[in-house]
Amino acid sequence: MIVAKKKLIKEIAESLSGCKRVLVVACGSCVTVCLSGGAKQADELASQLRLAARAAGGKLTVDTDCMERQCDREFVSQLTHDPKNYDAVLSIACGVGVGFMSELFPAARVLPGLNTTFYGAATADGVWEEYCHGCGDCVLAMTGGVCPIARCSKSLVNGPCGGTTKTGKCEVSPDMDCGWHLIYERAKAAGRLEALRALPVQKPRNWAKDRSGGARRLIHKELTNPEDGR
């Protein structure tokens, strides 16, 4: 899922400066699961914003709403408040939701309440970690399900650099596993070390499939509708 982190209240309050009425819109999907942008967090954020406004000597009306998925047109009807009645819509979805909402409601001022951070999994209670980088050219078959692009801080495809610590961590941080150490341990546990050793030299990555190729698009031709113009 997409993992996102709450922005600091100070930053959000600054972005709302001059607003009298704000609608906080939660998203019922990924960001609800990672406890950053669900309905509960929308209520908490609304209270914090009201308090912050009061402390600054002002008054802010904050309502909350929620959509199952802010990245999908079919859930717009779930909104019980009309964005046009507000000075700003504070979306606490991932950046996709913020962007899509601002497209759906062009007259509204849609602002982000979260920093979207990565595609990850819940690895322990209260812990989410990055597992996928969305590189557009999956190599997980080669590395036993541990992604060298997402989990190696340098996205190395031919093996580790010299920065693996004694405890199998990355030179970047003692809290960060070395991606290639994970790949090695996974192969060992699966009895596939020989297969790992036998991997040929990997060709340089085609980063055009990643962000270097510009904004990406997925089209299922059989489902397209010419009237959509996309």
Binding site: K154, N158, P160, G163, K166, E171, W180, Y184, W207
Partner: protein
Amino acid sequence: MSEAVSKLQAELEARHFVVTGEIGPPKGTNVEPCLHEAEKYLKGKVVAVNVTDLQTAVMRLGSLVVSSLLVQRGIEPVFQMVCRDRNRLALESDLLSAYVLGIRNVLALTGDHVALGDHKDGMAVFDLDSVGLLGAISTLEAGHDMGLDSKGQPNVLDGSPKFFSGCCVTPCTDDVEMQILKLEKKVAAGAQFVQTQAVYDPGTFETFMRRVEHLKVPVLVGIVMLKSAGMAKYMNSSVPGVSVPDQVIQRMTDCAKDDREKVSVDICGEIIRAVKPFCQGAHLMTLGWDHLVPDIIKAAGLA
């Protein structure tokens, strides 16, 4: 074997035990002191001098320019190139520039992560990894670049370079299995010589060398001078893949401050003597104590 393009290659092919040195370009434009050190302490004493490339991700004067200045002063450089800061276009272009400037030895390195340096907010590029960079060198040498022309064919170069290209390995790490796996790929991609991360334990190094014998590639043992016991302890706790044995630390602890240089030189000399039968050279990283290079060579019995 192909004709040697550099003194370093010729010496290694002649099976002479080689010694190389290293200088770090300054942070700023004041290049004279490092060139002076190289001329005074390294010229004529070592076969080639590595020029570090924004080592530890700290912004400095570039290794290409300093390597070129060494060429001008009659000192053979080993042009270090890391993958952290440039994409494949810039790496290939700098390789052509290096060749035109008379640089023949290139050391392809991954490079420390941006997060370790003094520009922590910068983008970590790593378009190619070190294996990819070695592949890029081989491609340029074959008269092409990594790109394609409008017909989808490899671009043809108007004049191609020829380098003696090397790589690095960390032989004394706990994850040595993966280091060997990576080294095999580096050699397959075109690495012709190897420099190692710092070695302090000849026994561990010997074991490593036995395990890479099949690669038939010359290896220069990495010798990093210890400046104090504190530095040794720091390396043990904070520098991945480096392990200084307790008895070595003890020698640095026990000696008087004025004797540190001498004890450090002795330690380097002893390590080189011990590993000389298993490797083809030594790469000295003196971290500013360049004036001790001649003493290390003497202590190692190589003078």
